[in-house]
Symmetry: D2
Subunit: 157 residues, 4 copies
């Protein structure tokens, strides 16, 4: 089974199975209250509400929490083809502050996915559609599937 | 008072006052168990132990937690001259995984500090001195002091 | 005259005047054979053909030449509002090689422009619409106009 | 022959052979007047003088030329173990301008080199030891040698 043998809805269905499996094991995302809105082949949309414990001394959301949201959206997008990938490097630009109670949406899109290396862009916006941060992630596939092998075997019957 | 009027130990003492003030207000750093080992003028050393809640589905430390440690070291280094600065953009390279129980050390050094813009490098290593991540932070000063004004006035008497 | 007082076509006309002025003084862009296809407010499209002198030992286009094309597109986009800006930092991802004779197109778009800081993305593609490189530029305005003052005075009469 | 079987001087000698071979085929570096000062295992020092044709409209050295110098130093450092590597992504921070007649020195050091991925830092300074730019390069090895195979066979007899 190659990617090209999948029609769009099969690719998106696979992306959703990968996301479901990843999320069940993603204690860090759950602890931050990150929710999956949509995961499709090569893309994802996640949301997180800024809580009191996420604030720094300026009463704005800590950069590490915004990074975590964007990095999580990156992970769901770059693992959406059932080929496990890890983050090699990331960049983030902080363009506007986020405040307690803000609902942040991270939208990940694939800019490039080669056989091994991928480049993804994630935009983080608030509930007013203001841009909060721009994230770029470089991923590398590690020759494993995302789903446990038995799931894939069942799927391919 | 300009930077050049400070001798080295005064500059380092100011850095330590800034760090103490920042840490008291840094709920996010405290929640991650980040401890300050040393903060001097333009540099900092911080440690964090990888806890169970920091792990992802691969049982390695979530990139967002490593980012948060490095980003915090960056903040203490770029705010160490009592001129408040914010992160404009950051890059992080993940070169080795970190596991539960690892003690991570983030060492921040100033690569460049102009009148407004700064560039800092932070290396994150584990207890075996293995390199875990390389972080670069670009900061911008925002024309405020780090310490409350009354502290500075007392200091300058 | 503020930006908001310009309607779209005036903003684009100003972008074109800035571009014309910049290009006349841009010996480096001219030496690389870079041509302006379109410069509008916050965006630009430039092309460059890969010549023999641009090749490295692998007979592919040197990264520095692709960077130069993207960086030039960045400059025309972030200076398009007649507020002179300089590059603070740039990142480039090389995703496919370019070969002699290829026509490369750099398309710059504004991701964010605040009062001082800007973030722009430039995609470089070849004549087959294959993605060659992804560039991100962070700019800072320097409180000068792009056009000589007399031009602006004439314009504002 | 593995890297660990080389003592330091053999590793450095191999680095110099790789550099010599690369430079002979590097028309772009030669055209910019880039000279090799020293290439050792994992590091390199290169110099370039800023010429008139490298200037932009502000009469400062074009960012693309500074990038090219740093990128070239990166290439010689990450290819110094006779395992061919290509640039995946690069970041550059421009911290001070360079002017006509300045002699720029690029000093590359290895921050990390795994089996495949590498991270290198290059600092560009002028003749007054002022920092001009900070460059970070991420490389990937491509399973080829740098030296032609016959050279390596002769070497290993």
């Amino acid at each position: 089974m190659t990617d090209s043998s999948l029609n769009i809805s099969e690719a998106d269905q696979l992306a959703q199975e990968c996301a479901k499996h990843m999320y069940e094991n993603d204690a860090a995302a759950q602890a931050l209250g990150i929710k999956l809105v949509q995961v499709l082949c090569g893309s994802s949309i996640l949301v997180m509400t800024v809580k009191g414990f996420m604030l720094n001394g300026h009463k704005t959301c800590h950069g590490g929490k915004i990074f975590s949201l964007a990095d999580t959206a990156f992970a769901y997008a770059c693992n959406s083809q059932n080929q496990a990938a890890v983050a090699l490097s990331c960049t983030i630009d902080f363009v506007n502050p986020a405040f307690e109670g803000d609902t942040l949406t991270a939208t990940a899109e694939e800019l490039h996915q080669g056989g091994r290396s991928g480049v993804y862009q994630i935009k983080v916006t608030n509930q007013k559609q203001q841009l909060i941060a721009i994230f770029k992630g470089n991923s590398a596939r590690i020759k494993r599937s995302v789903l446990p092998e038995e799931n894939v075997l069942i799927k391919e019957k």
